[in-house]
Structure formats: C-alpha cells, structure tokens
C-alpha cells in the first residue's frame, strides 16, 4: 500500500467544479490512466482519495494538495504526465510515508482577494486601514456552528497576515494568510465583509475573486507548504 501525494492547480474554468465533481474527476482520470488504485473493503468499494481542503466553487488555486492510496508504486513521471482538463495541472507528486492526515495538520491558507466595489474606492485609505485593522485586539463576528447555534469568533485570531497589494478605481486587492482547517477557518469573503463593516464602507463589494496560493502547516515555528508534510512533524 503506497500513498501518493499530488500538488496541483485548479484554475480557469475548472474553478467552477464543485468538490464532489472534482473528486469524481480525479477518480475517473486515475482509473483510465490505470493507476493501481486501492479500493475500500465492503459492499461498495471506492478508491481512497483524500483532499486537504475543499475549495469553494468559483475559487481558483495555484497549489492544492491531495492523496490517493495505491496498491503499488508507479513512476512519478507517469503521474506528472497525467492529463486533466485544462485548468487542472499536476505540479508535483511524491510517494510519502506519513501517518498524519493532511486535514488534521492543515493550519493556514493564503489567498489573493480581488474585490470589486460598486463605486470608486481609490480615494480611501486602505493602506492605513489594513495596518490599524491588524493592530486591533478583537473584532468578533458571528459564525454558525455545526449544531446550528451561533457563536462569536474573534477574526483577528484567525488572520495571520494581511497586505494591501493594489487600490485603484473600484478595485482593491489583498493578500491574506488565514486560519483554515480543523481548528477553525475564516472564509476570505467573510473577511472582506468584516473589514468593510469595521470601516463603515459605503461601497458594496459586488464581486470577489478568490485565488488560493497555498496551504500551510507550522514546522518549527515557520509556515511550510502542506505538500512538504512528513512523518517527523
């Protein structure tokens, strides 16, 4: 039994694939590329694919991580040569020996947020706002729990980093590193919402383009790409 880990992109039109559709696509592509898939036991054998973090429909990504269990090793070049629909590309692949699950170790995700407002925002002091925003101690927002109740969560505890990259006309672009994974996640669109209401922005965000740059975990105090996760962690 071998675990194959794959680093891949999901962009252009492929970002409109839902998570279930993406899983089905991987399964079928693996099947016809004759990967020696390991199937689950039981009434309804299914191949064992795990994805680090489902990406919302419409978000693109430069570096997603998934794993699949195979019965035997195959050449990495063969994996890299697998052709997916335009927009999904295998960037790298490796066989790993790692007991940790991707999901349990995932802590942060980095995003580029391109926010389009309904009118001009270039006159607004976004640069200063981002700085003062990060200096706040607490900014609470309401989040629904799995049980359906609502709890207050401190957004600042979930923001590792936030930078303004661009501000012109109706558009603002941020680069953010947000908590994501089993200990809680901050939705990037929610952040735009919290930020906007904190500074009482009159302009409304009409379109938010989200691109995920990478998934990270902490290794010896530094953020490391989840693709590098190994047994020692």
């Amino acid at each position: 039994m071998e675990t194959l880990r794959i680093l891949y992109t999901k962009d252009s039109y492929m970002r409109f694939l839902g998570h279930l559709e993406l899983m089905k696509l991987f399964e079928r592509v693996f099947r016809f590329n004759k990967l020696p898939l390991k199937f689950s036991e039981g009434f309804n054998p299914i191949p064992r694919l795990t994805f680090a973090s489902p990406l919302s429909v419409g978000y693109s990504s430069k570096a997603e991580v998934m794993e699949v269990i195979l019965n035997s090793e195959i050449s990495i070049q063969q994996v890299k040569d697998i052709k997916f629909p335009n927009g999904i590309k295998v960037l790298d692949a490796q066989f790993i020996n790692c007991k940790h699950s991707l999901m349990s170790k995932l802590e942060f995700a980095e995003y580029i947020l391109k926010v389009e407002y309904d009118s001009k925002v270039e006159q607004l002091p976004f640069e200063e706002w981002v700085e003062s925003f990060l200096n706040e101690k607490e900014i609470f927002y309401e989040k629904k729990t799995k049980r359906g109740t609502v709890k207050a969560v401190n957004a600042l505890g979930q923001i590792h980093d936030m930078k303004l990259l661009y501000n012109a006309d109706n558009e603002v672009v941020f680069r953010v590193m947000l908590q994501t994974g089993s200990n809680g996640s901050l939705n990037p669109e929610k952040l735009v919402d919290i930020f906007g209401s904190h500074y009482k922005l009159n302009q409304k965000a009409v379109n938010i383009d989200v691109e995920r740059l990478g998934l990270y975990f902490t290794k010896n105090g530094t953020l490391t790409n989840l693709y590098e996760l190994s047994e020692e962690e």
Binding site: L25, F32, N33, K34, P85, N207
Partner: protein
Amino acid sequence: MNLEALLRNVEKPSRYIGGEINTFQKEITDNTIRFAFAFPDIYEVGMSHLGMQIIYRLLNEQDNVYCERVFAPWVDMEAELRANNLKLVTLETKTALGDLDILGFTLQYELSYTNILNMLNLAGIELLSKNRNEKDPLIVAGGPCVYNPEPLADFIDIFFIGEAEELLLEFIEVYKLYKDKKISKHDLLIKAANIEGLYVPKFYEPEYNEDGTMSGYKVTEDVPKVIKKRIIQDFDSGFQLESMIVPFADIVHDRAMVEIFRGCTKGCRFCQAGMIYRPVREKKPETIMDNVEKIMSSTGFEEMSLASLSTMDYSQIGPLVKDLVGKYEMDNIGVSLPSLRLDSFSVDVVKDIQKIKKTGLTFAPEAGTQRLRDVINKGVSEQNISDTFNSIFSLGWHRVKLYFMIGLPTETTEDLDGISEIANLGTYTFKQLKPEGVKKSVQVTVSTSCFVPKPFTPFQWMGQDDIPTFRQKIQHLRTKLINRKVVYNYHDPETSLLEGVFARGDRKIGAALLRAFELGCKFDGWHEYFRYDLWRTAFEETHLEMGFYNTRERAYDEYLPWDILDPGIHKSYLVSEYENALNAVVTGDCRDSCTGCGVNVQIIGGDCYGNA
C-alpha cells in the same frame, strides 16, 4: 459582465464550462463547418443521452467539421444571460449560437419544444424559418419526435428522419457546397430534400379539409413525394462509439453506455420506438467487448450500461454479461442493465450483476390484467409475474418497482383493479416465502403514467383519455392501493394530454407553441415549471383546440400529418394490429416468425433477422 463573472451567480456552474475529458478542441479555419449539437434540456439530462455522444464523436472525427454542444440553460442562468445581454454560447468555444453554421436539435420528447424556441431566442436567432436568411445558422432536428415533425415545421429548416450516422455525413457533403458559396440557401435545401431521409418542410404545404383534418401536402418543388427513414444497414461494422465525454456534473445516467442492438422485435402496440426503430440489428459480442474496452480505457467510468430498447432480448445476453462481469469485476467496474423483462431468465442474468448490493429492481407489466396486456401485445403472462416475484424475493431482493400505464385502449375498472392485485401478489409472495437473511420488509412501488398515443403505432387513431377520466382512474387506484407495503406514484394527466397534442399535432399548432413560448412556457417537462393555464391561453388565443389533437378518435382513412413520412411499416399492418388489439389477439415476437410489418420490403430489401 462576462461569462466567468456570471458563473459565480448560478447553481451548478459546471454545467456551462465545457472542457470535460474527451471533448474536442479543434482548430477553426474559414473552411470549418461549425455545428452545435443542441439539447433542449439541461446538461444533466442531455449528457445522459447516447445519441449526443455518438453524433459528437462522429462529426468531430471529420476533418473539416467541428461539433460543439449547447444545452438549455437552467432558469437562473437564463435570467443572468438576459439581465447582462449575453447570448447563449457553446460549451467548447463559448461561441454565440448565431455565429455557427448549423444548429442540430434533438427531439427526445414533445415537452421540450418550448425550450427549443427559448434557446433560439436566447441566441438572438429568429424563431420562424421564413424570417431567417443566409447569415443565420441552419436549424436542423432529429430524434424520435421527428416522426411527427409538423408541430415544429415552421421553425426547423431540415428534419433528419431515422438514424443519423450516414445521413449526417451525406448532408455535410452538400453543406460544403453552400459553405463554399457554390450554391444558394434555396439550392442547398433542394439538394438536401433529395437526400433520402431528409425532410425540408417548406417544400411541403399542408392542405386541409373544412373540418380541420388534413387532405394531404402540396409538394412545391422537385423533391420526393414521401420521405423514407434512413437506417444503418450494418450496425456491426459501421461507426462505432469508442469513447465518450466524461461529464462533470452528476448527470442522470452517469456511466458508460454501450449500445448492443437497435430495434426491437417484441411488437408492443403502444411503443413507438418498437415500431420506428425496426428492424432489429445486433452487434456481435466481440464488437461489444471491443467497444466496452475502448470506452472504459478512455473514460474511467466505474459503471457501464448495456443500452438497447430491450436488453434482455439480445440473443447472447447471458454469456455477454458473464464475460463483462468476469473481465471488469477486478477493476471494480459494474455492469448495469437498463430494463428487465418480467421472467426468471432476466432475474438469473441480473443476479450475477448485483451480487452484493440488492437494492431494488424495476419491471414494467404495463397493464393490470392478462386481457389488457394482450390488447397492447405486452408478452407478459400472470405466470411470468408470479415466477419473477418468487425468484427475486428468494434471491434476497425486497424492493420492487412496477410500471403501468393507464388510459390504454379498452381499459375497464377490472384492469385497474388488476394493477392492485399484482402489487398485492408481490407483498403476499414475499410473506409466504419469508426469505432468510432479509431483515427488511417488502416494498412494492407502483407507478402509473397516462398513456399518450403516438404516430406510427397501431394506436395512432385512438382518442386519448381526457383529464377527468384520467383523474377518476388515478382516484380509483388510490382507493384500491391501500396495502401498507405498497407505495403508489402517479403522473399528472395534464402533461400527458399536452404531450398528446404535440405527438399527433399538425403544422397549425406551431402557432400555439409560439404563443405559449411568448407567454413564458419553458421546461414543460419539469413539474415545477409546467403551466397548463398558460398553455390553455395559448391555444385559445390561436383559436386551436387541444381536443382535436389528443382526445379525438381518427378514422382509418383520415390523412394524418405524419403520412408524408415512411418509417417502413405498412399502414395496413398498423390497421390490422389495431384490430387485433381491440380483439385482444396477440402477435408473436417477429424474431420467431415474420409478422409482415413491411420494413423488410420497404427499408432493407430482404430478410430482417436471420431467416425470420
């Protein structure tokens, strides 16, 4: 707003993106004939359609043709397109439909006709053929509903009657002349009309009697007087589907489809497919195994379905299924059979397939009594039904679905009661058997649909039941089907009555269709969007009566709108089959002995099936 921005606002955006595995991206030059296969329903329905997969590959394997796809956008997407002044585009290259050469609609069911008009409208294309010119794409149509093309005759330039594989390629050859500007649109249509199997309605003007019935067609150009259907003579060696598009969204039939034969020899009198797709033509088991291997190794599907009108009637179904299961079980690829006969042979075959998961089985006795099954020539006996119950319950199944039709000719209360008796026989058999190891309780689901008489069937002359009659029958069944282990589902009669209008309509009702579209009718086959009130208004405003088309009984000598077409079956055969039906006289399977429908003489020019 561009398409990508708009995709954020709609449900299931993957319906509109294209780029699936095994789709084509071709270089487009001035000589490329650009064709769109248009399915007038949503992606999930259209992508489940085998004919689309066939035509897509067939055309794209041609050098100078590029076939793309387009489906009806769901209502949310339509609203976005209209709000943003965007046109309906193809999945492959996002080209507006109006910029293509040919749009080919498939007519799978009558209740999708408003969607055709809606799609043309969303593309900014004139709906009526007479308002389109050489700048517009040619609008063509094929599929089972073209066997009565008249309701769409004002909108469609050319109908493809019969199997399109060879026909389409012949048509493309003629179209090239037009594309190269060697001939005019009028000459193109004349040349097309002279290809056997193509019907160009504008050269055939319907003529009417005073009572509104038809007296015939006036042929206005030098084109054939009758349009003969086309078939693939050698189904085993012609075009083979060896790969399929692998869909993204969770479509209705999300599996590989492998066609094992065309046509059907059962001769069920209600079944239009059984009449129009004659004669039976099988593929050899080796050909099927080869098709399957090529499809599976290029798609990665985890399931395959053996497609045909009556899969259990394939002459070597037992060995074939065994071979397929043997070969693909290791790879966890399942085999499914789309329709089962009610007999123990079918159960034997299916038990190999569903070794572990015994979820449920579906059968179609169609009618409740032996007498009525004889009327419709459904070769299922009471013994078959009871044997089937016995074997499925002893093998471990505990759920069974039974399909029936109501509104069949000569139907009485006794026939309706028979439906309930069959359902009760099911639950009773289960209790008597008390199958070991089955902890769950038995469940029999009865579904009834309202019968729609179709052209080129022996029932093409009969009057369809009206809405109150159907309602009464459904009500009767509701009071009868009170067994706690029996679930009763029924289709509403309104949609069937409208289907009945279009199934046997003439060219006049195109006006009602157009009006209904203008009033906002679309997705008529979708319960939540069906607006019978608007349809009634549309017929009133166009001074047409639905009853003239659906509930009226026709005389044998009445000229029928579809008499301009020749599917190979003699009208005299249909008459004698109708007479046999009324007398409850059965006609045997035509594999056993020729029943003289005429298709061997008209279409093949020889024997149909072996020596039959």
